[in-house]
Symmetry: C2
């Protein structure tokens, strides 16, 4: 019978809408009368609707759909457009891979003016930051500049975000410098260390593009927002502490990243040998940069001031050191930066390294963290400007830019929080600002590396420190605390893990707590339903104190979406407790049992597993979902229940109170 | 206003039941009229019900309740009964700890007759099995007998299951013999190995009683049913393969447990030196035991035949070996079994061992596996006989029996699948059968150990092998395959993990797949709702093809119970896709957009986290649950929504279609 009705009232067939949708206020009396007539002889029909629902798609079907959707979107685009002739199908594939083809058509001179300005601002921030982050990653300074050349160019043609600023970032640099030294000591053999960093970059790119191609983007979602906020805040503090090395010009520093080791190492070093000049220089320019930012925040028109303050600091301090020859009095300077464009590094990738498995693992971790930061940045600006970012396409773009980067002496690049914000407030329109930035960095690499010879390292440290407050989002932490205590636990777990153990432990804590949260979320037991006065709606009596229980029927609803091994016994014990307690209370009060039957409302449950089915007593059930009724049928549970399956709680209560009506 | 109504219609106040519960068939017209009147001016009221729900209990409150419920049930029992005088309060506490006090009052001679019979049958099976399992655990044979003395006695006074048979079991013996040799080689130093086994037993007992005391019993639930079925089947095969050593009298056997290593070791040994007598003896008695079981299954009256077949085999084979002196021709025999009762082993526990951490870890794993087996056994027989088992009390009993066991030379004991089934079919009535068994084993230890001198080891192997088919539940595996493919994956993962890697890897695979199942279960996206013809119920249009969509309102429901970081972006993309696709389809067809507004039905969602809130667009929402509306209020989301919060989908659709009605 369901087949017949299906044809008649197929979902979405527009001609039937007016018939059945008749709102209750117009023609309300007749509609209500019809409804009530239907009520009497309709229960049997509706129970059949529940029992004879079509089979949900099997797991194979879902898997097939998912794979074909993942692997063949381009192909299907291609196939569907094959009927059109000429170069169009090729163009549509190219368009899908390179969004620049689409948006460059409407690109105008006015847009370019904005992008040029934003790109130049970006470059002025990117050059000192890049050198600083390369130092943080324990690489030679020029690698930071290399990384600001190739990846932004590739992202500009393949990416879908308009505001994101691509290049080296602090957290990824910290991750690399805290994990790769376990495989290869950077001081003992800097070349081998650099080669492993490049190999890690290659693996990170491979993982990122694989995530995108196989639509595994959701893996990145498993780092929960709260955990990321905590992790970023912890990482910011750790990065700041690492800068003590540059700021105090300490020669023997610890390789560990936790607060206690770093403070101890600093304490020892300061007592042995330190040069106050470095510290004074660094701190005075740090306060200059911070006050520039303060002014920039107060006066929105001066947005360029905080953006160029770092470059100004570099120029000024270099000039001071050059003029006073302070390097002879203990001020540490960058010295030599390799001149010229990115050299090829294809032959430096180490695939025969005995630690290749570990390097691949580091690549995976870095890939996930880099994607997390980029996705967060991209999504937040896209939602401000009101356009949509394709997560999977974005990952492919990131992956290819890192693979290409690993061939051209770049280490892992991603979207930077601080520079993207500058790019946005400088008024960028498209990814052309990244291209402008890249070209500016190329010019700098070709002609101006010599000028950076006398740049003091303390200035780089203060530039990095000045970028850190952007990573600590106190407002968000407060909001997390207010809304969800478990999320706050994930946040603090990640924070203290990074701070007192290591970056990996912090990440692990974050992921673990996030997962535990999901596991806990499916355990909250059961609730009792009551009828809301004046309606046919049944609700939780705790949430709606005005709801009224309907003895002799006790209506229990499982409070979780998935009845499975992890909560089945708990739910069963809960149901038994409710049923028994209800009895006891009423035995004392009235001298007779009030709840003679228990109805199980299944409207919450989206799925059930074999342990969940085993825990179900043979109670009347209402409103089972698609997967649930399907599995109950497979497990022969429906057979045991007989006809006691109802579409809604109201019907179940009516049928149980008036057995005649239920008799079919 | 909610407060006023609360007092008036407090849930559970019986005098209001008749007023509001008026079923729709009696007085249907007036009730319907009332309902419709209410409809018009009731929406505002009901939106207020949703918005002004009382605060759900905070996480601190829930934590406090949980802890006080866990730690103080005995105390509160005690306190509540303190007003009564005399020895009663003490008795009630004692009763809670020792259920035997309660049930022994009604214990009668007829019950004892049944228990005596069951206990003797049990002992006849337990003695050979115990010796065999001790050999499997790489301990001297008497330890198997010791383990059948103290733990059953303690369980009998503290446990709540009536059918469970306590003693050494195959899977736990396998676990011990596969994990402890990594810490201490049993062949190099058997005494140190034995001491570590006893220490592991102590830790297992501590963990088990802690689980019970702190109500952490749910941790045991995390080994899903499907995973246990697969694990047990794999373990049975591995145990069977281990018996090849005894059956073929191999002297140099591998310490690994995976199929490939064992078969390789067997192949090599058989080519070098093996004695066919052992094999012939073992196989002939194995076929005797198996045919006895076959006869016993056919004829229920002969249930004792399979139960005593092992003891008969032992007696017969010992006699044969004694008479023919086959031990001089290469048949391996048990030889010396220490005579006398359990010696104290308090001073043999090794708490200063350098590997103590690892031993504690093994103790935890063994504790969980042992509890899993015991709980499964206990629950299945309790549900057959229709009584309830208190999971937490059960765990405390198991823990204390293992702690006491570790002080008296017992290794980890738990409820055995095979012997509990024998106990049940032998007609046991209470745990007295365990006491009878224990006393029989004591007598055996005191007087008959010498008789076992000539017992061939091959017989022990065949007795163990004969008990294994009970661990492989093919029917259940088929049912799992039929009902839930993901559960089947967990089952096969555990099975092949045990078979081809190691016992720990198998357990790890089982737990991991079970968790992944939960994680996957929260990701299934969204569904579109339609109105079921003739009702005010809105259902999934895929499940109910007769349901009709209600343009211009598109109703979307999240298919998961928890909207969180792991599915928020997925859900958001789904909603946007639905909304856009709906638009596109209709743009082509009708030339105008049909879905002008999207309503989000939240009735599925039992919880939401900060990432979930961030993914919600400002759409009208219906039927938010307690936790959800609370968190939406905390996150200021409700403020943004204005009044567009509805109690049910029907109201939301009505209000959206008739804006006048929604205006308050």
């Amino acid at each position: 019978m369901s087949g017949e009705r299906e044809q008649e009232n197929a979902p979405g067939s527009p001609k039937h809408f007016n018939q059945t949708m008749a709102p209750l206020d117009i023609e309300s009396n007749t509609a209500a009368q019809e409804m009530l007539d239907h009520e009497k002889n309709g229960h049997a029909d509706r129970a059949q609707w529940v029992l004879n629902a079509p089979e949900p798609p099997s797991i194979w079907r879902e898997l097939k759909d998912c794979i074909s959707e993942s692997l063949l979107p381009q192909c299907s685009n291609f196939l569907s457009s094959r009927n059109q002739h000429g170069y169009k199908p090729v163009l549509s594939v190219l368009r899908a891979i390179f969004p620049i083809i689409t948006w460059s058509r409407n690109y105008k001179a006015t847009k370019f003016k904005n992008d040029l300005l934003a790109g130049l601002t970006l470059a002025s921030l990117c050059i000192p930051q890049g050198i600083g982050y390369a130092t943080l990653a324990k690489l030679d300074p020029q690698y930071g500049l290399y990384t600001s050349v190739i990846p932004p160019l590739i992202y500009a043609v393949m990416g879908t975000s308009r505001e994101i600023a691509i290049g080296p970032v602090a957290v990824v640099s910290l991750l690399l410098s805290s994990m790769i030294p376990k495989v290869q000591d950077p001081e003992a053999n800097p070349i081998a260390y650099r080669n492993l960093v490049l190999t890690t970059t290659f693996f990170a790119g491979i993982f990122q593009s694989a995530f995108g191609l196989f639509r595994l983007g959701f893996l990145v979602d498993f780092l929960s927002h709260a955990a990321i906020v905590g992790f970023m805040a912890g990482a910011a503090i750790v990065i700041g502490l690492q800068q003590l090395k540059g700021l105090l010009a300490i020669t023997h520093f610890t390789n560990k990243t936790d607060v206690i080791s770093v403070l101890k190492a600093t304490w020892i070093s300061v007592h042995h040998s330190w040069n106050p000049h470095n510290f004074i220089l660094g701190c005075s320019f740090l306060s200059f940069i911070l006050s520039a930012r303060f002014v920039g925040k107060r006066n929105k028109k001066l947005f360029w001031l905080p953006a160029i303050a770092p470059l100004v600091s570099v120029a000024l301090s270099t000039l001071i050191v050059f003029l006073t020859r302070a390097d002879k009095h203990g001020v540490k300077i960058i010295k030599h930066i390799q001149r010229g464009l990115n050299p090829s590094s294809v032959h430096q990738l180490q695939f025969n390294d005995p630690h290749i498995g570990q390097v691949a693992k580091i690549g995976l971790i870095v890939a996930v963290v880099a994607l997390t930061e980029a996705t967060a940045v991209g999504r937040s600006f896209a939602s401000i400007k009101g356009y949509h970012i394709d997560g999977n396409k974005e990952m492919v773009a990131m992956g290819i830019m890192n693979i290409a980067g690993s061939f051209s002496s770049c280490y892992v690049a991603t979207g930077s929080f601080s520079r993207s914000a500058v790019n946005f407030s400088a008024g960028c329109e498209t990814a052309v600002s990244n291209i402008v930035m890249s070209i500016t960095v190329i010019i700098c690499l070709e002609f101006f590396t010599r000028l950076l010879y006398f740049t003091p390292i303390a200035i780089l440290a203060s530039i990095i420190i000045s970028a850190l407050p952007g990573l600590i989002d106190l407002n968000e932490i407060y909001k997390i605390w207010k809304v969800d205590k478990l999320d706050f636990l994930a946040c603090t777990g990640a924070f203290f893990g990074v701070l007192f153990a290591s970056v990996e432990i912090g990440l692990l804590a974050a992921v673990t707590i996030s997962f535990v949260k999901i596991i806990i979320s499916i355990r909250p037991g059961t609730e009792i339903l009551g009828r809301l006065p004046g309606t046919d709606t049944f609700c939780d009596v705790d949430q709606y104190p005005m709801a009224i229980k309907t003895p002799p029927a006790l209506i229990i609803r499982v409070k979780s979406g998935f009845l499975c091994f992890a909560n089945a016994n708990f739910v069963k014990e809960n149901i038994m407790k409710w049923a028994t307690e209800g009895d006891e209370k009423d035995t004392k009060g009235n001298g007779k049992k009030t709840f003679q039957l228990v109805i199980l409302d299944m409207s919450n449950l989206t799925n059930v597993d074999i342990a969940g089915i085993a825990c179900l007593e043979e109670l009347p059930i209402t409103n089972p979902r698609w997967q649930v009724i399907h599995k109950l049928k497979l497990a022969n549970f429906v057979g045991k229940l007989g006809e006691r399956v109802y579409l809604s709680v109201g019907e179940a209560v009516d049928a149980c109170l008036n057995p005649k009506m239920a008799a079919i």
